[in-house]
């Protein structure tokens, strides 16, 4: 079924009786050419691009819960391409270009809104670092504009510019960045993959990975054994558990990141605003809620909830930056499981076990990567060669030390990103 304005009008006049489910609910087959473990954003986009770019349709996505029930439905929906290091830069640039064509390609309204991302700076040194980052973004072919204080004041008049600790001196403005409706991204890719023949199998938890003489042969699941020529692990915060089924130990530590939403308000924050020095960022959803968050709680966790010290810190940082939000009431908060890698950059690579592939380490930035991660992982699964835009995301970079992508320059070490 194709969506269009005409279709909405027609269904509105005929009692909305013509809508059909957007994907099937198939029983798992005995065997597939490729099995993707994990029906989140990255797994679904991988399946979609396998079918669309490579004509591989004998593919299953195994999801232990339901489509859109994991991190893809629990994030703060920010899309941007403002990375500074080779390896990351071209990848996120590639992803942003895919985002820009996504709604037309999927025939699905993901509410992609290029409202702009503004990173604030508070010192001459930080401004210089942003000038460098902005130049890297422009060299990559993306957009970056340095705003001085007067220009920033015109865009964000509501900031408290003159706090003693972090006076706001300006910002790096990335106009093509913005937000998207996260659920719709999962649903759009799911519908696109399903319509091309991919089986999306929900409530199907993988409990084992079958390996014979160094080669993957299939998976054991809560719905029976499924044979597979190739298996891709795309399970974000649970990467260590699934990889352990194949005897692998990963350079991943799972941490909790909290986020918060207020009651709906009239439009007041037009862009995504990040206050790095205070560990705070914010945008306003199309429904009106202020969506904001801060840093990791700072300890390994699978609890999907955080602790109060970080809640207090985020609220303090928000109040310091924009006191006007103080009367907004927080409706809810939650925590997600982040697959933190030692250098803060992801892995899209083979594993050393023939036919077993790995996609993980997205830390707290996986949402914006959904299109390119799937696009590049599908390329690797289909051709056995890394996609040019993701060639730096090697698993062995931690062993060799070559090609570490430490965007924050804090050191390639757990617990520093």
């Amino acid at each position: 079924m194709r969506f269009s304005g005409w279709r909405i009008l027609k269904e509105g006049l005929t009692g909305n009786s013509g809508w059909t489910p957007q994907w099937r609910d198939p029983e798992p087959k005995e065997a597939y050419d490729i099995v993707i473990i994990g029906g989140g954003g990255h797994g679904l986009s991988t399946a979609y691009y396998l079918a669309r770019e490579h004509g591989l349709r004998n593919v299953a996505v195994l999801e232990k819960g339901w489509i859109g029930g994991g991190n893809v439905g629990r994030n703060t929906t920010i899309v941007r391409a403002n990375y500074g290091l080779p390896g990351n830069s071209e990848f996120y640039s590639h992803s942003l270009k895919l985002w820009e064509g996504l709604e037309q390609e999927l025939n699905y309204n993901v509410m992609f809104s290029q409202r702009g991302v503004i990173n604030l700076y508070h010192s001459d040194g930080q401004r210089d670092a942003f000038v460098r980052r902005g130049n890297a973004m422009v060299n990559q072919g993306d957009d970056a504009i340095l705003l001085d204080r007067a220009a920033l004041r015109r865009k964000l008049p509501y900031l408290d510019f003159d706090t003693a600790r972090f006076p706001v001196l300006g910002g790096l403005y990335h106009p093509r960045g913005g937000t998207a409706r996260h659920d719709a991204v999962a649903w759009g890719y799911a519908r696109g993959a399903d319509s091309r023949g991919v089986d999306l199998i929900q409530n199907c938890e993988v409990t084992g990975i079958d390996i014979d003489a160094g080669r993957v042969t299939g998976v054991q699941t809560s719905r029976g054994a499924i044979r597979a020529g190739k298996v891709g692990i795309v399970v974000a915060g649970r990467s260590s558990q699934v990889a352990a089924m194949a005897g692998l130990r990963l350079p991943i530590e799972s941490h909790v990141l909290q986020a918060f939403v207020t009651e709906g308000l009239k439009p007041v924050i037009d862009q995504v605003v990040t206050f790095g020095m205070g560990h705070f960022y914010i945008s306003q959803s199309d429904k009106g809620g202020l969506v904001f968050g801060g840093d990791l709680d700072g300890y390994a966790s699978y609890a999907q909830r955080g602790n109060l010290p970080l809640v207090e810190h985020v609220m303090e940082a928000g109040m310091a930056l924009m006191p006007m939000i103080g009367k907004a009431r927080v409706l809810r908060s939650w925590g997600g499981i982040m697959d933190m890698s030692p250098d803060g950059s992801p892995v899209i690579d083979r594993t050393g076990i023939e036919g077993l592939y790995l996609n993980c380490g997205w830390c707290y930035g996986g949402f914006k990567a959904v299109p390119a991660s799937g696009h590049c992982f599908a390329h690797l699964l289909a051709t056995d060669r890394p996609h040019a835009a993701a060639a730096g995301f090697r698993l062995d970079r931690f062993r060799s030390g070559e090609g570490i992508m430490d965007e924050e320059a804090t050191g390639a070490q757990h617990n520093l990103h």
């Binding site: 260590s240 130990r249 991943i252 530590e253 799972s254 390994a300 699978y302 609890a303």
Partner: protein
């Protein structure tokens, strides 16, 4: 989350700095080879359940602690002085 320091008693999580999995107590020999060093520096069990990690009581007595903790529930199961665990 409150951590019970063996020296100071139960204290707020904010007093402690987290250093990650307690592998730091099993530092390999300098000539142990790349595999051992990669495992020590980068590879982690990362369990969804009981784990042992290192916390530093930075705003308290300054002791390093080995904390046995459930990552799925945030329950603290045991705390020990790292100096005693390592000896």
């Amino acid at each position: 989350m409150r951590i019970s320091c063996p020296l100071c008693g139960p204290r707020d999580r904010r007093e402690f700095y987290y250093r990650g999995a307690a592998v730091a107590l099993q530092r390999p020999a300098a000539d142990a080879g790349e595999d051992a060093w990669q495992a020590y520096v980068f590879l982690r069990d990362n369990p969804a359940g009981v784990t042992r990690d290192l916390w530093y009581h930075a705003q308290g007595c300054g002791a390093w602690l080995v904390v046995t903790r459930d990552t799925a529930s945030h329950e603290i199961l045991a705390t020990e002085l790292a100096a005693e665990v390592a000896s």
